[in-house]
């Protein structure tokens, strides 16, 4: 009895400790939202895996490849064809099990063929996508960013007004991943690369409490907030080892003589040298004056709604 109680107590204590440890290990900004927040970002549907969730159009049973790459308008035939093939396959399956007719052999091979075709298409896409330079966002803007861009330029989004719910819902399904307001000639790939570099560098500066380096890359407001947190932390250093990082340009808003671009960072970080890598997911809002040659500065960190 005693032993049991002791064990339960020990387990509780250990789990409480580990909770504590996790609570202290946080990326820059302490895992909270600080500074400027983008309305567009908070209006995004809170999907955990946005690549797959939204917009399953007519050929619902068609497997993954179609929704992953929306910007290629050349492919509707493949989608339809794939759907048709799959439909045929399922029909064949039904009749195969239902009636066991003499046709079943042929139907079976039809299924096989359809599956094989699917595999071939998948492989083909995989390879052809790999071979293209890895700059999907640029492709996005090239294809359908234009129209969007003009629309937004005509009626610039005021960042502070309450959103008209209907207005954006119309395009929300497609906008789940389509960046908003990105100029067609915007070099998203280089932008994101530099953004990643700055993310890593700022995490390192945050760990060390290197205030001078943080000041280089942040607006005065964010700098003040971060400095406060560093001061609160005291002499104790933080540890955030970025194990992997992906960046995605969500969009660019133009307001108050500033560009506000929202970049979603995701990946994994180690909160301690011997800890397991944990996933992180947050949006950094970067600003840059419309005129003049100031660079992009971190104006705010925005946590996404967690729907794991």
């Amino acid at each position: 009895m005693k032993l049991k109680q002791f064990l339960i107590g020990a387990v509780l204590a250990v789990s409480a400790m580990s909770l504590l440890a996790e609570a202290t290990a946080r990326p820059m900004g302490g895992g909270r939202s600080i500074g400027r927040q983008s309305q567009n970002v908070s209006r995004m549907p809170p999907a955990a895996a946005p690549q797959q969730a939204p917009r399953q159009a007519a050929p619902a049973p068609a497997p993954a490849p179609a929704p992953a790459m929306p910007p290629k308008p050349a492919s509707p035939w493949k989608g339809i064809l794939g759907g048709a093939l799959l439909g045929l396959g399922i029909g064949a399956l039904f009749s195969h099990f239902g009636f066991g007719s003499a046709l079943s052999g042929i139907l079976g091979s039809v299924i096989m063929l359809a599956l094989l075709a699917g595999v071939v298409v998948l492989l083909f896409r995989l390879f052809s996508r790999k071979s293209a330079p890895v700059m999907a966002p640029a492709g996005y803007s090239g294809n359908n960013g234009d129209a969007n861009n003009n629309a937004y330029a005509a009626q610039p989004v005021p960042a502070s007004t309450t959103p008209e719910i209907g207005s954006r819902l119309a395009e929300a399904p497609a906008a789940a991943h389509t960046p908003w307001g990105v100029p067609a000639d915007f070099d998203a790939a280089s932008f994101l690369r530099v953004a990643k570099g700055n993310f890593i560098r700022l995490q390192a500066a945050w760990d060390k409490g290197d205030v001078a380096d943080i000041r280089e890359f942040t607006t005065p407001e964010v700098f003040a907030e971060l400095k406060l947190q560093i001061t609160e932390r005291g002499v104790q250093k933080d540890y955030t080892d970025v194990v992997s990082i992906e960046a995605e340009l969500l969009g660019i808003e133009t307001s108050n003589n500033e560009y506000l671009s929202s970049v979603k960072f995701s990946g994994t970080i180690k909160p301690a040298p011997d800890a397991l890598a944990e996933p992180f997911n947050e949006v950094w809002n970067l600003v840059k004056p419309v005129s003049g040659n100031g660079g992009w500065l971190l104006a705010g960190i925005q946590q996404l709604e967690q729907h794991a």
Binding site: K130, K196, G197, G267
Partner: protein, 244 residues
């Protein structure tokens, strides 16, 4: 100035080799890693791990990864050298370097990346603790010059590591030839759509000096305590040498 050298089995002018090699790697850069895995059945990872173990990079080390390409070595060195260390990823081929730079960045590693010629290294003398070149020496036009340059930038006591394809053991010669001249270009065609580049790969491996010759070359370049380790029966070999 019409010195000639070999490009695979062909004999070409020296400056042409530079261009041809560049063409090969521009062509394969995007699929370099997947091809490596397929062609060596993942063995190149073992060879690189062996090299990394022999490098013994410690925190604070300055490392230079020449012909680092997609950054397999630099990525580990950067972790090992830590924030006080300094790891340079260099390659002469822009396409490969681009892939490597992005890969390191995606691993959360901010390292200097530099496009440079191994025969004219833009570094001061006695600067690095480790210099490594994995599957790169073969493609260099003047290997002796490159080796001398590597020695120059090493600190006294620093170590050079050369991982390269080498001469396979006698009994395996036949199947290895069959594999590299028939299967390899065929796979190159299937996977990367480029048989020619992989034919060059096979030929350049045959033209590369064998274990003993490379050892002598490294000694001629002024490196001491040169030794080599055959990997997978000599398909590849790791040569190490120390600058004293």
């Amino acid at each position: 100035m019409t010195n000639t050298t070999h490009f695979g089995y062909k004999t070409v002018a020296e400056d042409e080799k530079v261009r041809e090699v560049a063409k090969v790697f521009h062509s394969v850069a995007a699929k370099y890693d997947i091809m490596n895995d397929v062609m060596s059945a993942g063995l190149h990872r073992l060879w690189k791990t062996f090299t990394i173990a022999h490098a013994g990079v410690r925190p604070g080390f300055k490392c230079l990864d020449i012909a680092g390409g997609t950054g397999d070595l630099a990525k580990v060195f950067a972790k090992q050298a830590g924030p006080t260390g300094e790891v340079w990823l260099t390659d002469i081929n822009e396409s490969m370097l681009r892939v490597g730079r992005d890969r390191l960045l995606n691993r959360g590693l901010l390292t200097p990346t530099l496009l440079c010629d191994a025969e004219k290294l833009p570094f001061p003398d006695n600067y690095f603790d480790r210099v490594s070149v994995a599957f790169g020496l073969r493609n260099m036009t003047h290997k002796d010059v490159a080796l001398k340059e590597m020695r120059r930038v090493l600190k006294p006591g620093g170590k050079l590591l050369v991982l390269e394809f080498s001469k396979v053991a006698e009994p395996l010669q036949k199947p290895y030839d069959l594999y590299s001249f028939k299967v390899l270009p065929w796979m190159g065609q299937k996977i990367a759509g480029d048989a020619e580049s992989y034919r060059y790969l096979a030929e350049s491996i045959r033209m590369h000096p064998d274990q003993e010759t490379l050892k002598t070359m490294m000694q001629d370049a002024g490196l001491e305590r040169v030794q080599y380790y055959n990997l997978t029966a000599g398909v590849a070999a790791l040569h190490t040498g120390i600058k004293l």
